[in-house]
Symmetry: D2
Subunit: 387 residues, 4 copies
């Protein structure tokens, strides 16, 4: 079947790159050591900070978000350091595996993939750590595999309540530019981001926002590093340069994407995502299905995980929807494979794109033989009639 019209890319990222950004990227290559590039570099190096809620430097890598995970670890930690982690989902688990591969001592608090990090548990573990063996707490802000958003501000309070000196490292890959986040205010030490979600760019840029304390830690950290080393990058950035060739075209795109976020206003961006997430949950529950996230305080603004009835295969439903309705949805990952699909509603998005998305899910479920109450779509539309 030949597909016509725009593909509905409703995975939780990479997201639809707006044509404005694509056109900004379709520009001729320029000399990355010349004055024109220095101006561009200055703009994006400064312009990215508010998106992280920081006034401090943000390191930009020509890499995926995975690379930025590695950067956060190798710049702050030494072989054998203990890190406290939480099994909130697939990506939290992958980050933990990476930490283990790099030679860290990874302490994992198990989880059910339906809840975020429990702040009380953080406090308990750090209180119990009387020897201060834990050097860092790793939190995934928004679990892309589940649609659960951990309460980072409360995690911060929990750490503070114990007086424990551990660093706080947070992955915001699928929340950055979509869900309210405050690197400075929440006292996060390293915030990890990527280009391909709320920033509306193609994949290929990784970010580390870095606190003063993290920078100090980097002076003594002993994990081997060269490409990921913050120090030469921060030094070069001060002159609008990079120590090695940057991904120039993604920086062209980043400049345009930052302008778009600025035009809309970050608070409006966050509110838009919350509103779409609410409408999506109303549809899901209207159909008679269950949302994966089990805590009302933790629903993600970026994506919604949907549990399919036990006698159906989520991947078959997704295949029907891709084939028949030209829409990509996110698969259940890891231990959720086949039991869950994920609806991305982040990035460059609007009410009618969401309406089309939810209509596609509703029709696809029907076509795939899953009994759904067709009033689901109208529950969402009613929400979308309000601001």
């Amino acid at each position: 079947m030949t597909h016509t019209g725009r593909h509905f890319l409703q995975i939780p990222g990479p997201t639809n790159t707006p044509d404005r950004v694509l056109r900004a990227m379709a520009a001729p290559t320029l000399d990355h050591r010349g004055p024109e590039f220095a101006e561009l570099a200055g703009e994006v190096i400064d312009g990215i900070r508010p998106v992280f809620g920081t006034t401090r430097p943000v390191v930009i890598y020509p890499s995926s978000g995975t690379g930025a995970w590695e950067a956060a670890l190798v710049n702050t930690l030494s072989p054998g350091d203990r890190v406290l982690c939480f099994e909130t989902g697939h990506f939290a688990t992958l980050w933990q595996e990476m930490a283990r591969n790099l030679g860290l001592d990874v302490q994992v608090i198990p989880g059910d993939w339906r809840h975020g990090v429990d702040p009380q548990r953080v406090a308990d573990e750090l209180t119990a750590d009387t020897e201060r063996a834990v050097k860092a707490v790793l939190v995934v802000h928004n679990e892309t595999s589940t649609g659960v958003t951990s309460r980072v501000a409360e995690v911060r309070e929990a750490i503070d309540s114990t007086g424990h000196p551990a660093l706080l490292l947070v992955d915001t890959i699928s929340s950055l530019g979509s869900i309210d986040y405050r690197h400075d205010e929440w006292g996060v030490d390293v915030t990890v981001g990527g280009s391909q979600k709320g920033l509306m760019l193609p994949p290929g840029l990784g970010f580390n926002a870095v606190s003063e304390k993290a920078l100090e830690a980097s002076e003594t950290a002993k994990l081997s590093r060269s490409f990921w080393d913050w120090r030469p990058i921060l030094a070069a950035n001060e002159k609008g340069a990079f120590p090695y060739t940057p991904a120039t075209h993604l920086l062209y795109g980043l400049r345009e994407a930052l302008l778009m976020l600025q035009e809309e206003g970050l608070p409006n961006v966050f509110a838009r995502h919350q509103r779409h997430a609410e409408a999506t949950r109303l549809a899901v529950r209207g159909w008679g299905l269950e949302v994966l996230c089990a805590d009302e305080r933790e629903h993600s603004g970026s994506l919604t995980g949907v549990i399919v009835p036990a006698d159906h295969d989520a991947d078959k439903i997704r295949a029907v929807i891709l084939d028949q309705y030209n829409m990509s949805l996110g698969a259940g990952l890891g231990k959720l494979a086949g039991r869950v699909f994920r609806i991305g509603h982040l990035g460059d998005f609007n009410d009618l794109m969401l309406a089309g998305t939810l209509a596609g899910v509703q029709m696809g479920l029907s076509v795939a033989g899953v009994p759904v109450d067709p009033s689901g779509i109208n529950a969402a539309l009613q929400r979308l009639q309000l601001p």
Copy 2:
């Protein structure tokens, strides 16, 4: 209010230009007298014919569709010639005004803007024209202002039944590449087309498909012409050239658009448009509103005209929808202003774009205070669950 995401351009043309076509057009300019251009010209000159249902030449102008209207007249008629016309809507009326401006004797059969050309009336008028004063019958195949499609094959039969030698000139601007059309089979003499509807291109190309009989008429036609003159164009086209600089970038785009139509297959293209038109009517009637087209045989595949309740202003509804839902709909034109809006569902389109469109209309009507039955959307979605 800042708009995000893709604008829903649901006017009945210009339509969404697919990004494939935009990228094909973003190519460097080439020498329009060189060998590379000759190859391109050959491809589009040949490739456009099947879209018109003809094996004969199609003249391509760097102009709007309006220009192609003028070309159809000045190539075939002489000052004072009588043309038989039908008041099927706004664009039919404009074409008639043009004919008058050019010095033709325009005979107009009045209409209610809810029906197409009545084939019986054609037969009656031509039968009555015993002096053969009528030199051409002008028909708008798909009235963009109303969503009514005239039955051209039956008009042809009506003409034939009278033995009248009048030429048949047909405007397919908003049906070409969307609604089944057969220049050769239906014995049309000049078919007028444009680039910006079913062909999925930006505006800027006009077309005339030309029958043998029309070409003969052009030998003796006396309306003054130079730019629009078929003869030097057809002569140059045989060598892959044009007598004056063609709109090269739109031809790049045309090549890509023809490829897309070919990939999908014209019968599939037509069926897709019919299916979307049906789903749209189901929604409109589900809301409790009336479709403008009053004859079940004449519903347009390209667009649907919707009558708003007498106490509401269609333009205010459209303004609400544009502001709140980032969607453009077509206005009521001429004597339908304020009483009707038009939903375009043509060109590079798919089920979920239609679902988003109909959701936007439903929500917009509600927000604008028009009472609608929200089950309308589901009537459409049920149709879209079937092939």
Copy 3:
């Protein structure tokens, strides 16, 4: 032979469309009746005026420059009106043929295709026309086929000296945005332009700048017209609209191109073209070849015609250069076919592109067996070392 790198498009138009303009054109289609389009329309309708040197309206057609030729004639003249024309080259001749086709009485003053319009001859002819039969004088400002620029200001003075009321119609297709031109100051009545030369756009837009006197003439002119009629266009333009669908994407491009001309400054644009023309003539003469233009006051800033030695075929030389050096040059047209080639140096161009161009001509001549003095290139480079 596979070509690599950028093609050198050194015909005298269409010119290299800058990537900025191509990217501006690669934008989604918008509603040509909506508020966003009205803003764009307003910008280009106003912004184009200074390029013509006028503060009065400029009509923009979705057409080639040829169409704008026709518009200039049909809006101001009546069947049988006499027009005074000059055989300055191929395009002047084509415009005269068009005038004849439209039913005008065309008086042609023969020429040798190496000189512009002789202002004295204009005065003589108009003085002789005691019956004021001549309704318009037609001048091609810059003959694209020869590289000769007529002295329009002096033609104006010549007309004025006779007190003759004839309109002055000027074709600036290959001078607009390249060579100093002043519609208002020089008292031109209709100035004809196109998009694809100094305006750096793809082909597809035609222009008419219109004097008060021309507008008055249009009230009584009797040549038939509808598509080309200025009046509905000027009326619609006042509200940021067009009476029929405009070539939206070329208007996107026009906005960007006008911005580029404004950034550089029109006097700088004109000076740049003159400087490149001078350098080109230095190279041509350095090679030992002759420039086609025979009057030092009339050298074109846009292009240079080069006479090839009598025993060589200019088209073969061009074929060698296209094949071997990936560069398109202009052919000799009409009676210059095979005897002349033309080097375009207009539009989005710079010193090193010119140096590459001249190097290519020099090498191509050598490869084609035309004896040339290789110091030609250095004569040009010496000029380009000066401002």
Copy 4:
């Protein structure tokens, strides 16, 4: 001064991205876990191999070439391993610093930055290494900072002559797709590449071509790695996937670039670069200046280093050329700063672009007050008249 026309980007990379590639990259984002992406992945994973001269896997990173340097080291070596290195220029030195930062024992053979790696010296050092402490020999194939190409095949023979088991790691960042290179035939163990030179893409992809022996080494190598680890990537690649989000848009571009290289044919690509390098040297010497590369066997096909007379500052000359002629040249790096500039003649390039480049250098030198013989340009043009 406002620049017009195309910028001449004549640094030795990043190179001019052809508009074909830019347009291929300007496509909508797609699901990197869907079937359409798997097809793209398969094409580029296979298609990149011949460019390296290998039939074995090539790992593609979303990173700069610097990242691919790190990948080559961390996948094959363990802390404290000795690597034999040669000071052939600035980038060789940077790679050595990286090796040191990662904890390797770096043995550097000093050099004068005008010669490549001396194969005899390789043999001598390895012969002396009776304890087989050296685990790898690091060679930069084409020193981007000098324009000197090391003779990798002879280095291979030198290693073989000693029977030493050291791995051979080669950086081809500025030779890949420009200068003849044969990973398999020359027995290279890891070849490091980047996207932004001969591959004609923007920066953002790094490559490692991997021999069987290197893969075996990776099983026991102990440098910490996660992001750079070949094994999960090679495993995922077999299914057309990547273990983390790939730089999708650069892969779109890579597919197009590989097609362009295939259309031209790699032997033709290499010959074109050599021919342009020869012409460049003829110009440099014609001007009376000295080429940096001091060994006739080692001239680079990608770039030419030019020594400026002792009383001039190369950076001031470059600034004049950028300002006046809109051309970027490469600076002297490290200890060559101010004494040398570099002309890039690689990637998507042709004869007239080279002629423009050399004209710009010649004029810029003159304008900057460096005495040059203007016949330099003609020495180059004479070469370019031959195949």
